[in-house]
Subunit: 313 residues, 6 copies
């Protein structure tokens, strides 16, 4: 039924691709030199099980055989990661016309260093789990938190992604982060630095930018943005790609739902940022910032309501 | 390539796990006594088909054989649920050092009561579907609403989860709720009570807390929060875990996108809450609450704009 | 264990279904005349690969064999789409008691026209990819953008869905849109018209309504709503289902996170809409609109903070 | 690496296909008019479960819900079968340039009649299971026989296939038979007529031809052939395709391993055919036929052994 | 289309099942008390990998991580086996109206003993692999033999099945054996005792009975039967179910294709049994047994051929 | 339950593996240098579809899009084959301590040559299909033959495997052959040379050896062996691995079921070999060879039957 159309469409699509590749100088690229989203998704599931075997591993795992599972699953995940790291490095080489020798060894070394950080990363995640358990009146056990809190899932992915970012694999890191973004609605750039005991509650709509720095024991609610205020351009009119442009949040800060904090500002230790507020300047340690007021008025049947309520969160 | 690293990492990870289990007193836990997220996800898919066989069941189902499908799928789903309920009850037993006799019978009884509520639950969901159909100018048929509206999916999960919550299975309920949260961005705690004819439009970012009570025919738009204002702690400094802290929304209320309502306040019947407003006090029945004003100014080229517009929604 | 319950529940569920079908006049409907969400999801994955074979196609694809892959995958996708289109048309026929002759030919013709738009659609998407690359300081390559940016995924789905909508297949279009909504939190109605070079950053919580019209090179951040202000009803009290009710956004506009624009207003070319603002009236070309002010005060230990900051975005 | 080869090979393969289709007059054939082996394999698995739900159905099936499973699975299997039957009938139409009206109704009717024979077929299979249980000293229970005896699997497939053959669907029947042949090494043509209480032990290498007729309570061992002796040709030199050419085996016959019986001969009731014998003529009722003799001789070291042993089986 | 038929067929099928269960006294059986063929198939694949990790395990396994894979896979396989063993024991209990206490402990103990035999079993299999390598001129390496020789697959299954048989789990053993029978056409009853260095070449049609005893370094070709000659019945006319009725084959015997050896006879050490011979009596050590003669005659055109050839194999 | 056992068993299994590897000098082998059976199985399914797209390809394929399917599937299959060929060549290198340069190029070249033979191979297979159609009175169409005859499946695999064998990839060839052996019971060594128009009917138990040479239009029935008579050993007592030891069968020969032909003998053109005969010497062209005689005698009730029947096939 579609025969002529399909042949024609295939031809036209090739034309569009060729035109794009010419403009983007992508014609000489070897085909495989790019990471696979599916491969990283599989690695993510494996590493979640490696970190929390009895909660996020297979349902029939028994404690006495955990180490076999952990070792086997870890070795599979690291092999896949090393191959994908090779893809990222080869792609970057081609992109920047570099000529790095022995990319596979470099990829293997990066993943070996990454593997060495996993125990410390589990320790960090344990502080996150406790922070969620203590910070949410609805949490009944730490086990429930590990299994079902989207904020914990987002932090597992972020802490893994940040290590890949640190090891020079920003693309793998980005894919890992976007997988959590898709599942949880929490969008943390892998470059962001987040201290121990972080609790992101509900989480949908949270955005944390590449150069954000977050201290210890910080609590963040849904729809909070830690963003950039403006993007300076260089002499050629291009965005300056690496440059500190997101907030620094010190220890023990609480940021309520919908708050927007923009630019390289500092939120001082212990500050409380109210819901929906909009902040583009430093906030002193210990201060409480809240939204001004709301008007409300009666509907067509009635008289307007009185003074704004006392809206401290 | 990673051999030494892997053996070492496995050892270190075990050390971290042991330290965590010691602190959390989790060392004696039997391994299987915890529900499985994958099992609950499968049950959710089965129950969606049981409730709406010709729309959410298998594509080749025919009306004359619906009952066979419903009966077979229901029996599979309930068996899995009963097993998972046993896991939750055994885990709770261990957690609180209780010694409940005959947990499997208790789990079976809870699931049997749950099963008995399904027909009423389908009746409730029919009112939700009609509310969406009548409330959205873009809806073309009730069938489209059942198949593709995320608000309906969230309410199917919620109404199932709430029954599990009522039957004493809060962890299964929570997993069911988080599955919908992940798919739709709508985060309804299973404890929330929601009346008939509920319509959640678009839905991403909606958060409804554990003790919220919502009347009939309530309409809620994206990014609405029905949250808690503060969490009192007990004498030991722990959060008080069960205690009415979320809003009560009466019948026929409309809450527009981005509105935040916090604390045990009452939104009176027929009230309309405007977009992005922030409410921490009671709102009288029939009132309209809207955001105050926006300033706008011309860009670098020009003069500031004039008076705030009339922004009644 | 559940035997009596199950037989009873099956009977009761049938009763509820019959009652619903009677009220909705669904009793005579042929069973298959409804599209399948799973089938559309498979088509979406296939068309993503057809449009960007080396980035969203199978990982082992090689450039020299792209056309075979594209042709084979396209023919599979179009056959499935044609069958699903037939389902939609037959369902609509029944719903409106129409009697369209030769539905399969009509469905095939619609899908053939749809197929003819794919090359142009890829060209449009290339402008979106470039817009994201140039608009995000964190983007390292156009390839990364195609693979991992949720805004790009949402636009791929939207541009495909919009063509189906134009071809008279609004239900297939809706399912395609909701699939992207579920994955990205970006909710674009298939009816919306979006010009080239669109960049939706982060994206979670974005809502764009059915009759919205967006010009070229528009940038939109997370949680932006382009919604309707009110829904007029007809003489019978039903919502008027098709009628221009969403904003028109002209070329080169930037809309920051959380902004809400409601009603058939025009945002003039080059305007910048600040974060969290609430707009229900026209905005002149070139203007900057920003939120008014935030108060902040010291916590219980201290004195309130001073003047609102200068909050131009 | 293969680019040029692949394009060339694809072209050449098309040439070969076109030449074949021209010679076989297959050019105008509609593409879908042919049954699918995978579809029939799925139907076979479903019908095995329908016939023996607690032994060959899903492992978690419970007796009290058997009917739901049976009804649902049967309706799926019959729908698939009806569609495949339509494929077979349309193909035959085209092959013989017939013009049968309303093929789908004809296919549906054939499958409805087939379905009506299933209970009787289960009754027959019960006699086969008992025959195996009583005939094999190694059998411990009838349940073991149903689950693990290849002869029973072959007879399930055969009895289903024979009904399809009788209903005018020889191609579906053939596929069903070959699926069992592949799994068990037992090759029974669907046309063969087999009475109750049949036991095929071990089974590998058994061949039973299209026009064979087998009575009640017949026992057959591995590598037995019930074949044709010669194939007469018609005036044009073509084989005469339908014509009684295989043995008739009366009740209570036992045929030991490796026996070959060829032609339209009759093996009289109660006869015992010894292993490896070769028979091309009638055998009277009650007779024992055995192989003549074996010589054996000592190896290079020694003197030949004596008289042939008494080799009655 | 089938509605009435299906309801009727379901009812009739239930009637047939009930009649069967009444006659077989199966009505009170608990539903789950029967092993699952799919579960055993999965265990078989896992144990094949455990025994030969780098040849029959996952393709990406690396030598340095073998132990993790072996340990993890073994623990999964043994857990499944223990559960299936419990099913077999509970079924047997019911069948024989026994009342064994603590079946799960008994099942676990049997599987623990089974596990302890695996290293010795691998050692035995290594001798089988070498025997195949040295016995087949077409074999190029031991690795090829492990990966692709059906005789080796059959012996892996048999040696595992025999241990289960010895541990009192004949039904699990039987299923394991039939899985290999289906794949290779080699039918070895789990009760058979087979010495080291066994080589079964080609294998299709080989049948080895329950009480056969085979010595070391025995070579067996396709279609060889080691069967029973007759089955004595007890006073009630039932077959005597356990009783030595199959051949004993001593060390270093070779049995060529198609040979049939029946009854409790002894084939002396070093004997060579020619193809297609039929043996029902003892064969002295060192002797060669071969088939007598073949006549051949010219076709209709010509004169018969002369004397039988010298047919020593 | 198994913890200690598992750790112990893992240790012991490693010990056995190490001992084996030491004796076989397998310790230094790189891990991946061995083909994967699963990968070859996938390639086999793909190539079956490439050769007969409308019969063995996907059920929804349409004739007008065949070339896209063929090209895409072929390119996938050849890439996998080239990788597996590299594995075989690297393994052989290690095994024989060779040092072949640039194995990947060599593997690619072998697979390119293999690909070039596919059109001719399809032509050959068409002659096989016609031979089956004309040779079997039960065959209703050539399409049925392609879809369901095990002999055709075995020849597809053999003709592919033989080309791999010719290209110097005997291990890939062997795996391909064993896959067909497992499915059909037909065991053809990839080295065997088989002319056009070959028909293997029923097929279970057929064995054709490595150096067999078969002419055109040969018909072979089940359980036929074309084997070796004896295996000469070299001075070291090892089997001589390559050396003509199987029969040569000239054009137009028919070999009936169970016939065994051993050694480097010639079966002259047009000869007919009867069922179950045993041949170890040349057979003149045009001759008919048949089995001698069978005795039969009455059972205990009666007198022996008379003269042997006239048993010409």
């Amino acid at each position: 039924m579609f025969e002529m159309t399909i042949a024609d469409v295939v031809d036209e699509l090739r034309g569009v691709r060729e035109s794009w590749r010419e403009r983007q100088e992508r014609h000489d690229f070897a085909n495989r030199e790019f990471p696979s989203r599916d491969a990283i998704a599989q690695v993510a599931a494996q590493l979640r099980g490696v970190l929390f075997p009895l909660r996020l591993g297979p349902p029939d795992l028994r404690q006495e055989n955990e180490d076999f599972y952990v070792g086997h699953t870890l070795s599979q995940a690291l092999q896949t990661l090393a191959a994908q790291a090779g893809n990222e490095l080869r792609f970057r080489n081609r992109l920047f016309a570099q000529n790095t020798p022995d990319i596979d060894a470099q990829a293997g070394e990066a993943i070996r260093r990454f593997a060495g950080t996993l125990p410390g990363l589990r320790r960090l995640l344990d502080t996150d789990v406790l922070a969620a358990y203590h910070g949410d009146p609805a949490a009944r056990s730490v086990d429930e938190v590990v299994l079902s809190y989207p904020g914990v899932l987002a932090l597992i992915h972020h802490r893994l992604a940040h290590e890949l970012y640190v090891q020079g694999l920003p693309l793998l890191a980005r894919i890992l982060a976007e997988l959590a973004h898709g599942e949880t609605g929490i969008d943390i750039h892998p470059g962001a630095q987040i201290g121990s005991g972080c609790f992101i509650d509900h989480g949908t709509g949270v955005v944390i930018g590449e150069t954000a720095i977050i201290g210890k024991n910080v609590r963040i609610y849904q729809a909070v943005t830690l963003g950039a205020k403006r993007f300076p351009k260089d002499a050629q009119g291009h965005l300056q790609k690496s440059w500190p442009r997101h907030p620094m949040v010190e220890d023990d800060v609480v940021i309520y739902a919908g708050a927007t904090i923009l630019g390289r500002v500092t939120i001082g230790a212990g500050a409380v940022i109210g819901g929906n507020v909009w902040i583009t300047h430093d906030v002193p340690a210990g201060s409480h910032v809240h939204q001004a007021s709301v008007q409300h008025e009666r509907n067509t049947r009635g008289n307007p309501s009185a003074a704004p309520a006392d809206v401290v969160v």
